[in-house]
Amino acid sequence: EPEVTQTPSHQVTQMGQEVILRCVPISNHLYFYWYRQILGQKVEFLVSFYNNEISEKSEIFDDQFSVERPDGSNFTLKIRSTKLEDSAMYFCASSDPGTGRKLFFGSGTQLSVL
């Protein structure tokens, strides 16, 4: 079965630094998402992306966050100036209309902000 891949699996950064989390969604999928999970808490929606633009975003997704689909395969999440509270597991997911609302998740990037 095709998979969503995420790199890196772990990222350690200093507070205030920029990080880019990378995702390769399943090739024929059209909808892309970022979720995050702070340790011990629930999986939270950040942003969804469709047709080369953000279709929905949560309150968490403030001006420090941005997403991009720079080419036909990658989908990136950038955090411009990381804060301690950005430390979390970040999950990328994709879906397509043919699968309804079945999201395929990547294995996640564990971001640690020191």
């Binding site: 808490q41 999986v43 929606f45 999950f91 309804g100 609302r101 999201l103 998740f105 990547g106």
Partner: protein, 111 residues
């Protein structure tokens, strides 16, 4: 706002015993409900969704609109069922509305 509540953080059952993972939601319309599972060191994956009315790995879940619940059940738990289980809700059957997740329940099946 939509909300999904999973009241149990941890549920421990013996192998062969029945298991029920509780999920309640708040949404005034007609939601679509899902159960996602995350086995140790693996990614989140869809277990089942209510519109399919299917049984996956022996698990079933029925949407009860009167009680706003979507509890996950299995008559005989197996050790390989040990995992984190997340209930999730969508308010849009066909579009791009994001899933809202519960906090998850860790199921531990004891041999």
């Amino acid at each position: 706002a939509q909300r999904v509540t999973q009241p149990e953080k941890l549920l421990s059952v013996f192998k062969g015993a029945p298991v029920e993972l509780k999920c309640n939601y708040s949404y005034s319309g007609s939601p679509e409900l899902f159960w996602y599972v995350q086995y140790s060191r693996q990614r989140l994956q869809l277990l089942l969704r209510h519109i399919s009315r299917e049984s996956i790995k022996g698990f079933t879940a029925d949407l009860n609109k009167g009680e706003t619940s979507f509890h996950l059940k299995k008559p005989f738990a197996q050790e390989e069922d040990s995992a984190m289980y997340y209930c999730a809700l969508s308010t849009d059957y066909s579009g791009n509305t994001p899933l809202v997740f519960g906090k998850g329940t860790r199921l531990s099946v004891i041999a």
